[in-house]
């Protein structure tokens, strides 16, 4: 699904450098990324999604070389094949929960909100316990509910890869478990790969594999 080879990335003018000789994720795999702040976890997600491009090396998604794509091609890839879940939910305050879930349709090239899309949004929301709350704006939802909306938004386009950047970081323990359950269940249902950055070591046993960035900025190994 995802293959990284000889990747090297550095921020311009910064002393941080991320080097990953090799890394691969299988389709449907659930992988956690752990490590102290500043070790490049979010950078890894950005490189895989084509938000940033490496100085050298390659990032493949399936048989597509993401690191060689043009900016519009990478945007199209993200819109159609990658779902994002952020720590701060990143919902649009002026849109209802329903419109937030459908937001990727509004920004993706060629996507159109039809009855099928609306039905899928309704179904996803219902499966995440948001039925009856779709007309509410984010400020009328709890944090757990806001993250569920963000989760639905990440899954609405049926992506092959879901990238979660500390998706449970702002949630209480009960919501943390609930969101993770939903994340696992929905991605499994869609056969999507999940790559999640987390600081919560209690959650690690639930993943298929853990990539630890703490030692050398690049560590890869099987879960305990």
């Amino acid at each position: 699904m995802i293959t990284i080879k000889d990747l090297c990335f550095a921020y311009p003018g910064g002393d941080f450098q991320l080097e990953i000789p090799t890394l691969s994720l299988e389709a449907g795999e659930k992988v956690a990324v752990v490590g102290p702040s500043g070790t490049g976890k979010t950078t890894l997600l950005n490189l895989i999604a084509g938000i940033t491009v490496p100085a050298s090396g390659s990032v493949f998604m399936g048989d597509q070389l993401v690191s060689a794509m043009t900016d519009p091609e990478r945007r199209a890839l993200r819109a159609s094949r990658i779902g994002f879940v952020f720590q701060d939910f990143a919902l649009l305050d002026y849109l209802s929960a329903r419109e937030n879930i459908l937001f990727p349709y509004r920004i993706a090239a060629g996507a159109r909100i039809d009855a099928q899309a609306r039905a899928r949004a309704q179904e996803l929301a219902a499966s995440c316990g948001l039925a009856g709350k779709l007309d509410r704006h984010p400020n009328a939802l709890s944090q757990g509910e806001q993250q569920r909306v963000a989760l639905c938004r990440a899954l609405i386009m049926q992506p092959q890869l879901v990238l979660a950047d500390e998706a449970t970081g702002n949630l209480d323990p009960a919501n943390k478990t609930a969101i993770l359950d939903l994340l696992f269940a929905r991605t499994a249902e869609q056969g999507a790969t999940l790559l999640a950055v987390t600081h919560d070591h209690e959650l690690l046993p639930r993943f298929d594999r853990v990539i630890d960035f703490s030692a050398f900025r690049r560590t890869e190994g099987p879960a305990a």
């Binding site: 900016d71 993200r78 002026y94 920004i107």
Partner: protein, 385 residues
Amino acid sequence: MNAFFLAFAYLRYHWARSLVLVLVTALILSVPLISQVLLNGSQTALTERAAQTPLVLGRRGSQLDLAMNALYFSDDRAEPVTMADADVIWDSGLGLPIPLNTAFETNGARIIGTSLEYFDFRGLELAEGRQMALLGEALLGAKVADRLGLGPGDTVVSAPQNLFDLDGVYPLELNIVGILAPTGTADDEGVFVDVKTSWVIAGIGHGHDGVLDEAATPGEIVASASIVEFNRITQDNIDSFHFHGDPGDYPVSAILVAPNDARAATILRGRYLDAENPVQLIVPKEVIGELVGRIFRIKALLDAVTLIIGGAALAAVALAVFLTYRLRDGEIRTAFKIGARRGMILRLLAAETFIILCTAGAIAFGITFAVQSNGSTIVAWLLAT
């Protein structure tokens, strides 16, 4: 469509901010438009009415004040001239003098004491009722009648000039006998009476019951100390109204002069050229032409000021919009991360700006249209105050 949907949703959700931006932009757009409309209206009103008024006689002093008072019944009144000055014109046989006495008001409208010739001179027609014929009768201009909701059979009372003016202007109840058809000029804002009625208001003429004390002993002539002056002229008391003093001394604010022809006009103008003469004869078209010239010189300056202020205000609006975009940086980054096309984000921001500008433009156009629709009223009010 998606860009417009999102832009509209954003503007609607943040309605207070959107409202302020729209109103500020609408004001920036409408101020130059309104000033242009009013200036054009003023120019037209000023020049048309001035062109229809060949000559005006009045007390020497500000020619502009005299023209504005005689044409628009403005508050700028010089010392009055007298009916003797009108008689001089009449006796010359060179033109027709039409007196105007604009010293009094009623219900916020100017009372214009004049002669019947004024109505022919201005081409005024009756919309309702009949022409005034008796002392104490009044015709209302169309807008005054509309504003006060009065018609033939009603009355209006002249306003006292001073509450403590014990020997002067007493309120006189005027009988409304007709309404003038609208003309879109200052005449719509006037209450017209015969010039003699204006002198009754001034206290020069009056009516009262019998002077003699009927309770006095037969054979003795005793004046009553309790004379009752009439404050309304009726069929029963009209015969008791009389005037004191020399009619030649009765005051009028100005005298419109309709010369027989161009030659007569030239001769008349020549007779009042002497700077020592306390009376002057002006050509309103020249006076107003000079005023319009000044107005348009000022307008050029006003345009420059408006341009600078408008530019500064637009820059402030642009800054507000820019800061809003900065506030939405997180949203834009989210959209970018989940795959929004660059053009989509630009279209979203452009759609918001477009909606704000279009709404503001529509409001500015609406305000300007409303001002233009009532332009004659506003211009008449501006010219009269």
